[in-house]
Symmetry: C2
Subunit: 409 residues, 2 copies
């Protein structure tokens, strides 16, 4: 490790960076051992930078270079990782010029590219995910009725929340776009008597889901289809997509919209989109797009309503923002991931382990500081009656809608 | 009344109009007594047209001329008014060229024009509204936990729903933009211990609200301000606006946004917008704009998020669509209005009575067929924690948010 002082220019820039970080009570520790911190409170943690190249990366392209350096171990965090990331995340609430520019360079997700992108992330091996997800392998935001319930319970509550929001009933036909390891599709069949066609382009996940369906005697009710959801045929009562829209990419929202228009039964259908979103247009973090989710984009509500729902002539019935629930979910995942640190390092290497540690903690920070949102949108065709009369039915189980519609239509 | 047959061209056009109306099971009855109806079912009702001028109006500018002719009594409806309007409303789900064009002709609502527009509608006399609104004079969508509760109960439930959604607490300061006759502001003070500044530019309403506050001993907690809400000063914990956004007009959303940014406390504030909206951009019905609500516009969700909330750096926490609750509210109002038919005719004349009868029934039809929506949006500054942990607290009264935030922040 070099002990040399940074040059004159770099020293000035490091000072400026430290002043910015001081506002977040984070210390910048360079390889020269010098203390530059000047915040009013003792620092909550420090960014430890080993060399001039890493410092230059932090100065000129932090969105990408922070992650690259962290992954390589050239940048370390002293103190607890997540609070430091939260503090740092609060410093850049608006879009940088680089982010603005990158919007015009991003590529769309054709079916073949979508398949590659999904393969990149989801086909790491079911064993890997089994190590830190809940027992049913739900890799999306859970729903904690109370913040203290277990992850297992919160994931079951999420599945019930989705089913109740679309008022799933026995015999309903469902199209699920992006079904992961199949937990929701199987839950819909088992607990609600629905018949589900579940689409996924991850081969490992589909194989797992099919085996589980066979084992649980649900293969007759749930069809796991190794195909792009855009190839869905026929009509359905309910369309659900949990954690898939992020991978669609803005340029392909029109084809999602066309699918909704084609498959959701106009007179009685309804649907739910569950996705990571933004308050305002901004690309996902550059490092996340390079290393974790190629091709991913978190849309604003307006992008989803104007590009997906309105062209499909769908009416928005309900939107819920569950960002703190995703922060909580990620905290559970981080804890379990940390507990299997040794195994991950042995199997995938230290660089991979650090990348995933940063991805989980950084995502928690982003949801905690409201840089990312988690939206659930319930919609129905303009011609269809809403699936319930009031939310009382969703949250207290009073089912009056049928009586009401029977009496008035 | 002329008994002459329509000329050749008008006859052809009447035939075409009847074919369109037949799809809605509505008969067209012209002055010549001829039957042109050809639907597969017996008609549910009829439009009775007295002369060629009225027929031409229906053919060439139905959005405006239907109302004008109905008001004048040159067009009558045989059968029940509301179901016929519903059936007819279903025939034009998309924007006409005339509507498209009119978007570019509409004028904005400067403070002085806003005052005029409001005067036009709301200063008809408190006695008039007392005749057909609920006992507390709430002139906005009620919330029927169950469709059979009374209008009085549903209006109280609406006020509680608003207060619970923003988690109103003792000592909270509230700015209410557009307070009507003051019921919500008084309820917030009485039932929740809030201190409210309530703005309204209708002099009659403000006078009524002040008298009520004094009578109920709440004048110390609620200040009714005869001014444009855009002049609100200082900071508040909670911003609410129920049924006012419709009168703001798209051209002035930036000033609403600036008010939100200025007055809502960044670290802990939150707010609620309750307004009539649309699934897609479309001006309000031309006749409604001429006779009932000059300057009014019902925005899409995307217009409100991108033009009002995002520029104010507000995060959307919750959206609920209550369109069927507004249809139900309007049905109550229509029933009470019909019961005082004689009085209204005597005081305001038959033309006025017919205009209001049509406005109430037509609005009910528009909400019933999903041509209008009623949105409640809960938002908070990106920096602020959401007001509750999960909806369970709103719908079941479990208050865990404080414990949670205390434990984690």
């Amino acid at each position: 490790m070099k002990r040399q002082r940074p040059g004159w220019l770099l020293e000035r820039l490091a000072g400026a960076l430290q002043r910015k970080l001081s506002a977040a009570a984070v210390q910048l520790e360079l390889w020269d051992g010098q203390i530059r911190y000047s915040g009013p409170h003792p620092p909550i943690g420090a960014l430890v930078v080993d060399d001039a190249r890493t410092l230059r990366g932090l100065l000129f392209n932090p969105n990408l270079r922070f992650g690259e350096a962290y992954m390589a171990g050239r940048l370390r965090v002293r103190g607890e990782l997540e609070p430091v990331l939260e503090a740092v995340s609060r410093l850049s609430p608006t879009m940088t010029w680089r982010e603005w520019f990158s919007q015009y360079l991003s590529v769309g997700n054709s079916p073949s590219r979508a398949r590659e992108n999904v393969h990149h992330h989801y086909d790491l091996g079911n064993d890997f995910y089994r190590g830190w997800l809940d027992e049913q392998l739900l890799y999306t935001c859970a729903y904690f009725e109370h913040p203290d319930v277990s992850l297992e319970e919160a994931q079951r509550a999420k599945m019930d929340l989705v089913c109740r929001k679309v008022r799933l009933r026995p015999g309903d036909t469902v199209v699920e776009a992006g079904c992961g390891w199949g937990a929701l599709a199987l839950h819909m069949a088992r607990a609600y008597g629905a018949r589900v066609k579940a689409f996924n382009v991850s081969r490992e996940q589909i194989a797992y889901a099919r085996a589980r369906a066979a084992r649980e005697g649900l293969a007759g009710q749930v069809e796991f289809i190794d195909d792009d959801y855009r190839n869905a045929q026929g009509e359905c009562d309910v369309f659900v997509s949990v954690g898939m829209l992020e991978h669609v990419g803005l340029a392909h929202y029109d084809s999602l919209s066309a699918v909704l228009r084609r498959v959701v039964r106009r007179a009685t259908g309804r649907g739910l989109l569950h996705f990571i979103g933004r308050d305002f247009r901004r690309p996902l973090n550059a490092w996340i797009r390079r290393r974790i989710f190629p091709g991913a984009y978190a849309p604003t509500l307006a992008e989803v309503t104007t590009r997906v729902l309105t062209p499909a002539r769908m009416s928005v019935l309900d939107v819920e923002n569950l960002r703190l629930h995703y922060a909580r979910t990620l905290r559970h995942w981080s804890g379990r991931f940390a507990a299997m640190e040794g195994q991950v390092r042995a199997r995938y290497g230290e660089e991979f382990r650090r990348a995933w540690e940063l991805y989980l903690a950084g995502s928690e920070a982003a949801f905690a500081v409201s840089s990312l949102q988690l939206f659930q949108i319930v919609f129905s065709p303009a011609e269809a009656p809403p699936p319930y009369w009031s939310r009382t039915e969703v949250y207290r189980g009073v089912e009056t809608a049928d009586q009401w519609f029977a009496a008035t239509r």
